[in-house]
Amino acid sequence: MKLELSRLVQGGGRLGVLKGLGRTKQLSLEVPGCLLYTHLGTVPHLTQDTLQTLSNLPSVTQVSLSNIAEHQEVLEEFKDGFRKFAGLHDTLLYCSLHDPAAPFPTGHITNKTVSVWGSGGRIELNVAKFMALQKVVQPDWYQSMADGETWQNNTSLKRVRKSVDRTLAHLDECLLLHQNSQELEGVEVFGVVEGGDVLEERVRSARETAKRPVAGFCLDSLRAGSIDPALRTQLITAVTKELPEDKPRLLQGVGRPDEVLACVEAGVDLFESFFPFQVTERGCALCFSFDISPDPESAVLQLDDEERDAAEKTQLNGDLNPDDQTQMTSFEINLNDKRYQDDFRPLVEGCGCYCCKNHQRAYLHHLLVTNELLAGVLLMIHNTAHYHGFFGALREAMASDKVDLLKRRVLRERDEQTERKEQDG
């Protein structure tokens, strides 16, 4: 794996391509970019037919041990790895520890173990079991075992230090087993940077991890809702300074477009694409504009006033609590709303996804109020297309010095609402 940076944007932000990926070394992944979020190798709600209606999907698929661990025996018997088991073909497989969209209880971590929660409950993993799983999953990349329980407020300094120490110890053990394992030849390990909200610990974790033979870095315990975004950006900036330029940095648990923009500036290369899934689950459709064409009047992806009012109302009612990831954001419209019952426009005018080309808001509204399964399918198609389109626009903006324009475009709706709220308040 090789990261070729083509541009360092002023004020932060790295544009480039990860090349030579996979066992054939043929695949590549553009950064900033995101991985394809899945449940057990399946993009939520989608079958291959519906997934294939989407173009420009990332070449890396994310699966999590929390989904997979309970199927260890099955995979051991199958022998050919998870990718083949899941019917996936031309994709790279990245195996993370947790599912970024599934909250899990804390308090189950010990010096030697971490726990994941699957459909059958908690499964405790020590390094030996963790590595045995990686051997049967046979991913291309995997996240090293980590104590990532420091995202809660008021975590003590002692606990934060412990998480850094444990995570480094896990990494060393993982690497030892990895190097002695034939099955994992050619597989890349991502070291995990911990350190809670303590700057010194973050820096220590980054420095120490960077000394190990890892292919990339996961920035853990900074997930949305657990930390002030400004503080997070500070921490990430400090951490990325310590990390080698030529290795990718994957930020876990952050997905909102505004937060993505801030974290890219702070030096992040990769994200997990769980955000469109969360939007889908609340019956919403992403609609924020990321059009940076020269003529702003031609930017078709604009909310009309009425919708802005609705989104604003949502904000006033709920978005004040950013801790709750299930809350609607200002980047989406809520198709459950009665206003859409006779709205015969596509979700987003000009969007080329299967949903927007074939269906109208009124139909989506009907599918949601009648609890029909197709609602999730169509929304997931659109939200995935929109989100990956946003990352494409971000790279384009970085290549053509238009990041500021993109930021204004993306943040406009959010900021306008904040202003109105302040005026009202």
Partner: protein
Amino acid sequence: MAATVERVVAAEASEKQMSAKKVLSAASPLTLRIVAECSVTKARACELILPHSAVSTPVFMPVGTQGTMKGITVDQLDDLGCRICLGNTYHLGMRPGPDLIEKANGLHGFMNWERNLLTDSGGFQMVSLVELSEVTEGGVKFKSPYDGKEILLSPEKSIAIQNSLGSDIMMQLDDVVSSTVTGPRVEEAMHRSIRWLDRCIAANKNPDKQNLFAIIQGGLNVDLRKACLDEMTQRDVPGFAIGGLSGGEEKDDFWRMVTLSTDHLPREKPRYLMGVGYAVDLVVCVALGCDMFDCVYPTRTARFGSALVPWGSLQVKHRQYAKDFQPIDPDCQCPTCKRHSRAYLHALFKSDSAAMHHITIHNIAYQLNLMGSVRQSIVEGRFPDFIRTFMKRLFPSPDQYPGWAVDALASVNVTLE
């Protein structure tokens, strides 16, 4: 031997007759072309030409109750070869309502389905779903489960809604009585269904675009069925449904009512057996002369992890499939079987609803392929052999063949070993 002779027995509107439309009564937008008739049984293979495309019969019509096929996109349904599916008038009339669907250019436009649609009358759901329903000569009275308002579904109202939905085939409102009820109520319902048929015919605003099918009633009583057939076949309707069955009656009664009906239905019009969808029932009732079938079973059972296979069904969620790395049916060519194993689907059921969609796709493919094979065997003059092979595959041994199926098939000259 009519097996290979292609004969056009146009029900009504062929191109030539369109010009004569003014003088004739309503020319219906349906043509039935009998492609082949089995020389042994009453089975036939036809081309049913409907406003949105031709349909090869015998045909199984999947049920998309609320304007959607349970997690499957219209493109997926089309790719599976489906040319006609159902929508339910009761559900769609409630939500989103006929006015909205009319604004969306009918149900075709609303759900973006370019093939044919059949809608039921709404009466059956009302009787089966809504507790507080009362049937009078005016129609079916019920309380809306959404706002508690009392609503009367009259024949005129049912047709008005179906006109708004714009389905290719509409069903008359019939007086549905449980098939296990006996006595004067059955006779009353039969006569009322005939009167309601006349009111439905009169109420149809789009006879040139939407076909209205009559529904034969009469419970399990031979004389009542016969009387209903006599009356209804005198009406100028483009097709007939056999109703009031598949409601928990004895299978011995069921098949006798089916065969009695097809004996008296006109050869040149399609026959639709309502609510039938189990593989054995389909094959037997094709032999008895039915052309069209619908049932929620294949799609509903899919969501519980039950996959239909030539040897019955396979419970994907059952533990025994956790390490079974074959496809659901190694001979099946559906997108699910071409890509996924039983073991993966078993695991996926614990993680994502897409597992249901995979089985739904497989089950629709199974139903449509079954009917395709039935049709081909009729065209090739080997339907009786097909039945014997089919039964052998489905049941472990001949002594497990259901008695009613053996009797029904014997009645059309097919003996099983």
